[in-house]
């Protein structure tokens, strides 16, 4: 059975449209990430699901019950806020129990649930502390605990890792992944960090410009981006996009780059639309060649990342391209370099930005 279902959700603040006809369906116990840049509408969508904002149109259903007409507290939803929003004058125990008390849960049941959640989150020694007496990481555990004790049907996490330092963020990411195995509910996490989305989510919902751009499992988002926005937003550094000319012949598209070099893609030719095409190349599809090369380029910047080296270069016709070299690259800025483009890993994009990919392996 579907867990959460969004049907034609629209929202505008004044005359500024924020969400445009958003529909989505979650499987039960699914972990979904809303991924997108700021202003893409992802947080507004989360707040509409929580009931903190009202949609202008559309419906929200959770496990067969329409919830968009209910107040936030009656929706069977728990939310972990970006800044945690713990009640500062209440102890950890009271923070966690507050929602249950309001829901008139029996006293011993509350105690049991709080104790269970505290054990899972390893915050039992903190139960009598106030939020001000805890570190950021501890506060976040309490915020998660406050959501857990409610046994909700849906968890909402609003940028859960953004307020943590880098080391703690990695650790918490692992813990969130483990936590997900333990809870019997669907989870929606809002993030602008693709690494968080890729590592945690069962499926990613990429949002931009008031709309869902693509819904898919992480590797699908990465390897078969629906359009140029997804292609460029997911993956770091961003995919190279270059105008190409479609050449005659064969079942798969052969394209000519601006500098005249030819790339044999594995994209079926028959699927392609008429008009201007662009090729999409991830850095790993463009290698600094020691053997046969596709084209030559001039190195503009070399980034040594340790396990690999990124080479930002420019083709003779002025097109910027990002390539990859081995960890011990000897390249320097200004060098001429031969590049081998892996046509099998190339993507093509139509005039409207729609992505076309090799047939699934």
């Amino acid at each position: 059975m579907a867990s959460l279902e969004l049907m034609g959700v629209r929202k505008a603040f004044g005359t500024t449209p924020i969400l445009d006809d958003v529909s989505l369906s979650l499987e039960s116990r699914e972990f979904i990430a809303f991924l997108g840049p700021s202003g893409s509408g992802k947080s507004t969508l989360l707040r509409i699901i929580a009931g903190l904002e009202t949609a202008d149109a559309g419906e929200v259903w959770l496990e067969g019950r329409r919830i968009d007409t209910l107040p936030p507290g009656k929706r069977d939803i728990a939310m972990v806020f970006q800044a945690y929003a713990l009640y500062p004058h209440m102890s950890v125990r009271e923070n966690m129990a507050f929602g249950l008390r309001n829901a008139k849960v029996a006293r011993d049941e509350i105690d049991r649930r709080v104790a269970d959640a505290a054990t899972v989150l390893e915050i039992t020694p903190l139960l009598d502390r106030k939020p001000a007496e805890m570190s950021g990481g501890q506060r976040q555990r309490v915020a998660i605990g406050r959501a857990l004790v409610k046994h909700p049907k849906l968890f909402l996490l609003d940028e859960p890792l953004s307020n943590l330092d880098a080391a703690l963020r990695l650790r918490t990411r692992v813990e969130l992944a483990q936590l997900k195995q333990k809870v019997d509910a669907a989870v929606i996490m809002v993030t602008h960090d693709q690494a968080e989305a890729m590592t945690l989510a069962d499926r990613i919902v990429v949002m931009n410009d008031r709309r869902i751009q693509q819904v898919g499992v992480p590797m699908e988002i990465y390897s078969r981006p629906a359009n140029t926005f997804v292609a460029q937003f997911v993956g770091s550094p961003a995919m190279t996009l270059a105008n190409v000319e479609l050449m005659e012949g064969s079942d798969f598209a052969r394209v000519k780059l601006g500098d005249g070099s030819v790339v044999e893609t594995h994209v079926p030719r028959a699927a392609l639309p008429a008009g201007e095409l662009r090729i999409g190349l991830r850095p790993e599809a463009v290698r600094v060649a020691d053997g046969p090369a596709t084209t030559n380029a001039k190195v503009e910047l070399v980034e040594r990342l340790g396990e690999r080296t990124l080479v930002y270069a420019r083709l003779p016709d002025g097109q910027a391209i990002t390539a990859e070299d081995s960890a011990y690259s000897r390249l320097a800025i200004g060098d001429e370099v031969a590049l081998a483009i892996d046509g099998a890993a190339a993507h093509l994009f139509g005039p409207d930005g729609t992505g076309y990919h090799r047939t699934a392996a």
């Binding site: 903190l52 507290g73 009656k74 728990a78 806020f81 929003a85 009640y87 309001n102 502390r129």
Partner: protein, 291 residues
């Protein structure tokens, strides 16, 4: 403190210290000394020890003025606190209308006490006043607010509340705006109704502001003077004479400076004791909250 202590630092605070001593410490000590003397403005006084204090103890006029002061303070402070909090809650929103109404409610605070009492004399006067007309319109006998000994203190309290409501409201508004919005969103998701949210989220968050308002207002109202002097001159027959009005009459009506100073010291100690007790009580309950 080391032997090489640099005394030049003292030069920097010297101007302040000099002024502070001249206009604060000296008069304070001088007042204390005066209270131990029998003295008027026209000659050297003589030392009477605690004679003035003993006389105060048996002075029914002073006793009544203290009781009046307590009574009017008890009428004003709780009502003023609640009203200004309710106003702040109602007006804590964006928009032009709320801003205008906030301005209106604060406007009375910038008026001088003279104008305030003038205005309220017109409101309270039984024959032609606003309340009198209202009473008449309702078919009741107008109440003599300023000449009935049982009504004069409530009238004084009413005037004072109207005059003083702006500043506490402003403090509460500032306190309310400190509460992060996501606290209320978390409470909404925690199924908290308006009543629970008010008592469990808003009031605890406003604790410090509440304490501040109550302490400031208590200290201020125990010194209530202008309204009482201008509205009723303490009458009828001393029913609205406050402690500071007693001081004023004694010092500048009867020129008994020593006696007035003694009364001032007593009032000072009372205010100190009351505010310290409030402070102690609230910081103790703070400790009880695990802070």
């Amino acid at each position: 403190m080391t032997a090489q202590r640099d005394w030049r630092g003292l030069l920097f605070v010297a101007p302040f210290l000099a002024l502070y001593s001249l206009i604060l410490v000296f008069p304070l000590l001088r007042g204390l000394w005066l209270s131990l003397n029998q003295v008027d403005l026209f000659g050297a006084g003589h030392f009477v020890g605690f004679g003035n204090y003993e006389q105060l103890l048996h002075d029914p006029v002073f006793g009544t003025s203290l009781l009046n002061t307590f009574e009017v303070t008890l009428m004003i402070v709780p009502a003023l606190t609640v009203i200004s909090l309710l106003l702040a809650l109602a007006l804590n929103r964006a928009g032009k209308a709320a801003a205008i109404v906030r301005g209106i409610f604060f406007a009375s605070a910038v008026l001088s006490v003279t104008i305030v009492t003038l205005v309220w004399r017109f409101v309270l006067a039984p024959d032609a006043g606003l309340l009198g007309e209202l009473w008449k319109a309702l078919g009741w006998e107008p109440l003599p607010f300023l000449s009935d000994p049982h009504l004069v203190l409530p009238a004084l309290a009413l005037t004072t509340i109207w005059w003083s409501v702006g500043f506490p409201m402003l403090l509460f508004l500032a306190g309310l705006q400190q509460i992060p919005q996501d606290m209320y969103e978390a409470a909404a998701l925690d199924n908290s109704n308006g009543w629970t949210t008010f008592w469990r989220i808003t009031v605890p968050a406003l604790r410090r502001t509440l304490i501040l308002v109550v302490m400031l207002q208590t200290a201020a109202q125990l010194q209530l003077f202008g309204q009482s002097q201008l509205l009723t001159a303490g009458g009828p027959s001393g029913a609205s004479r406050t402690a500071v009005l007693f001081l004023f009459e004694t010092a500048f009506g009867r020129w008994e400076l020593g006696y007035a100073s003694a009364a001032a010291e007593v009032l000072f100690l009372i205010i100190l004791a009351v505010t310290l007790t409030q402070y102690w009580a609230t910081s103790r309950s703070d400790a009880g909250h695990g802070r």
